[in-house]
Every structure is written in structure tokens, then in C-alpha cells.
């Protein structure tokens, strides 16, 4: 006998607020994996080169992805002599809770979450607006 969950459309098993969180805050699988990795040792400052290596992406790409996560208030960055390092640091309890829930759903429903992220329209027009941000936002 088929279970309820398998007869539903895959994305229905993920609650709408978690979907919304993913759509609003996470731009790529690399960002999601980075959060998971950093969350596993939350007190560690991860150098971006280490993260780039673990995520199999280029250093510059890694920096950009982590900066985006800083903008979203999920991660904090600091400049060290070897370059930038980042740490898992959600800026409030709600974000922390959403990440915890997301971790659960990503572990149990990987495909719907991945599809959600891949389905996001990829444009660069936000860079136009970013050009006018005169001061670097606090990390």
C-alpha cells in the first residue's frame, strides 16, 4: 500500500515556510552545503580556501557565495592575514530554527530542496543595485 507521502507531489512534503526560507536566503547548493558544513562545527572559523576545497568550487566563487550568506545574516566573516574566514552565525533565533529545519528536510528530501534551489531564476541584475552600496555591510 502506497504511503501518503509518496502520493503527494514531492515539494508538498516540505512546509511552505521552509520553502520560503530556502527561496529567500539560499542561492545555490554550494551555499547550502557550506552552511551544513559550518554548522557542524559552529565555533570554528573556516578559511574560505578550505571551504572552497571541500565544496569543489573556485576560491572566488566561494568568497562570493559566503558573502551572500553574510548578507542574509546566516554567516559571519572576518579578514585574517591568510584571507577571509567565515563562521556559522545566524543573526537571530528564527534563522537558526529555520536552518535546523532545513537541515532535516534536506537530509530526508534532498531532491525537492535541490529542485527548489535550481529553479530560482539566475540573473545578475542585483549587481546593478549592489554597485550603489557605498559602504561594505557589516559582516
Amino acid at each position: 500500500m502506497e504511503s501518503e507521502a509518496s502520493r503527494k507531489h514531492p515539494i508538498e512534503v516540505v512546509p511552505p515556510e521552509v520553502q520560503r526560507f530556502v527561496l529567500d536566503r539560499i542561492d545555490s547548493i554550494a551555499q547550502l552545503e557550506a552552511i551544513l558544513m559550518m554548522r557542524n562545527s559552529p565555533d570554528t572559523w573556516w578559511p574560505s580556501s578550505t571551504l572552497a576545497e571541500r565544496l569543489y568550487i573556485a576560491d572566488e566563487t566561494c568568497r562570493a557565495e559566503l558573502d551572500a550568506l553574510c548578507q542574509q545574516g546566516l554567516v559571519r566573516g572576518r579578514e585574517e592575514h591568510i584571507g577571509w574566514s567565515y563562521r556559522y552565525a545566524p543573526s537571530n533565533g528564527d534563522l537558526r530554527e529555520f536552518v535546523d529545519r532545513l537541515v532535516y528536510y534536506y537530509a530526508h528530501h534532498l531532491v525537492p530542496i535541490s529542485n527548489l534551489i535550481h529553479g530560482k531564476p539566475r540573473t545578475r541584475i542585483h549587481e546593478f543595485a549592489d554597485a550603489f552600496a557605498l559602504k561594505k555591510k557589516d559582516r
Binding site: T123, R124, I125, E127, F128, D130, A131, F132, L134
Partner: protein, 89 residues
């Protein structure tokens, strides 16, 4: 009301050049072509502002409106294709 034209000229130059500068800076960092063309547009807008002053003050007896519109249109014909084709980058 001599102040108003000076305000308009100064504000236009400041705003247009600021936009051109910020966009050019961002282009050098990100290589996002749209930013370059937008920067060019704002440079042309600043230049047109100079033509406005030339029209009203220096060559007050001649109407340069056709040239000013032509310059404005040139700027837009650089900006609009860039905006329309934005998805390429």
C-alpha cells in the same frame, strides 16, 4: 532665480557622474557588461548637461535642442539594448 539653473546643472552633473563612477567601479570588479553600458549612458547624460549649459548660456542665440535630443537618444540607444539583452550576462 539665477540659483535654480545652477542647482539643476550641479545636481545633474553630480548625480550622473556619481552613477557613472559607481557603475564603472562595480564593472571592474564583477565584469558584468550591463554595468559598463549603464556607466556609458550616465557619462553621456553628464555630457548632455554640458550641452544644456552651452545651449542656454554660451550660444544663447542659437537653439541647440536638436543636438541635445540627438545626444540623449544616442545615450538611450546604448542603454536600452544593454537592458534588453541583459540575460546574456
Amino acid at each position: 532665480m539665477v540659483i535654480a539653473p545652477i542647482v539643476m546643472y550641479g545636481l545633474c552633473m553630480f548625480t550622473a557622474l556619481l552613477c557613472a563612477w559607481l557603475l564603472l567601479q562595480a564593472y571592474t570588479k564583477t565584469r558584468y557588461r550591463l554595468l559598463f553600458w549603464c556607466s556609458v549612458f550616465f557619462c553621456i547624460a553628464a555630457m548632455n548637461n554640458v550641452f544644456l549649459v552651452l545651449d542656454k548660456v554660451v550660444f544663447a542665440d542659437v537653439d541647440l535642442i536638436v543636438y541635445r535630443y540627438a545626444v540623449a537618444l544616442t545615450g538611450l540607444m546604448i542603454l536600452l539594448p544593454a537592458l534588453i539583452l541583459e540575460k546574456e550576462v
